[in-house]
Amino acid sequence: MDNAELKVELEKLHSASFGWALSCCGRDRGEAEEVLQTVYLKILEGKARFRGEANLKTWLFAVIRNTAISEHRRSLLRGLRLTADREAAIEQIPVYETPTEGFERSETQAQFQNALKSLPARQREALHLVFYEDLSLREAAEVMRVSIGSARQHYERGKKRLRETLGQTDIAYGISWRAKENPGAV
């Protein structure tokens, strides 16, 4: 696959890639964009090369995941030095509300995102890849670089834990769940 073809394919996968990058970066949009840019840079420089051994989507997601992990490590090291500066800078940044933030503030989504954040990384990744990106468990396992059995375990545990976390909240959807499980409780 030459660069022009690859570019077309990457463009098709762009929004899905951004969503995955968001998930890998703890839903930090700036960081996710930076990670995606780094991934494209790696592809342009030939540091990440698609050899056709796997599906392009799973390969790209694996590259995004690895890049996000290494960027996170780097930012942690940087953060040790710049914590004080960043805190001062954050205090000076004016707060503007974007439509997305408005959406995220909606109660159901806020609860859901908090529940997702409370999950262990592997479980969150498995759920995101299956439900958000519509990947099969086998493909999710490829992206996460684990066996399919392990991916299935993370997926099942993640689902159970997400259900428990959401069940503890008072959002309507949680109440309906509990009502189904134990009709006498509600």
């Binding site: 463009e11 951004f18 689902k159």
Partner: protein, 188 residues
């Protein structure tokens, strides 16, 4: 059945999230162009780094080669100096002239002249060796003599006038008169 319902609910929440993300996702062209720009910027420092690396490697190799040559020549010089010093120290370097009367001899051919020259060289070497051995023997003899003649400077202090009385003892086979004369103060 409930599992399917549960999955549907999770799916619905994720779909909602995906829709929101798609609305706020940056344009592909923008991110791609930024990556391309970064790629062209990072290329130059990488090339400069490569050039500096090559230059540094070349300098290092030059330094190593010159060091190796210098050490080799210094070793050779040191060896030559040792040979000169040891050569000057031996008495064998004193030229010994072997006088040979060749006035009455008939003219020599080329081969016989060479043989004569080698013979005279051998004689000269033998004479040098003899002289060297003689010098060494003479030196050793001188040192041995000096050692045997040496006396301690405090030997005189160990001597006294009564040394003979203190050192002589009466013998069993001496005569009684001698014993009496020895014991002068005893009553007779």
């Amino acid at each position: 059945m409930e599992l399917v319902g549960e999955q549907k609910r999770i799916q619905a929440l994720f779909s909602e999230l995906r829709l929101a993300d798609e609305q706020t996702a940056p344009r592909f062209a923008a991110v791609w162009n930024r990556a391309q720009a970064a790629s062209s910027q990072t290329w130059r420092p990488a090339r400069a780094l490569n050039l500096s690396f090559v230059a540094a490697t070349a300098l290092l190799i030059c330094a190593l080669v010159s060091l190796a040559l210098w050490s080799k020549y210094s070793q050779q010089n040191a060896r030559q100096a040792i040979v000169v010093v040891t050569g000057n120290a031996t008495p064998a370097t004193v030229p010994v002239e072997v006088v040979k009367d060749t006035a009455g001899d008939p003219p020599l051919s080329e081969g016989s002249r060479d043989r004569a020259a080698s013979r005279s060289r051998a004689k000269r070497l033998a004479a040098r060796r003899r002289e060297l051995m003689l010098a060494i023997n003479l030196k050793a003899a001188r040192e041995a003599k000096a050692i045997s003649n040496w006396q301690s400077p405090t030997t005189a202090l160990l001597k006294s006038q009564n040394d003979e009385l203190l050192k002589s003892l009466p013998q069993l086979n001496e005569s009684a008169d001698d014993l009496k004369s020895f014991l002068t103060n005893t009553p007779k």
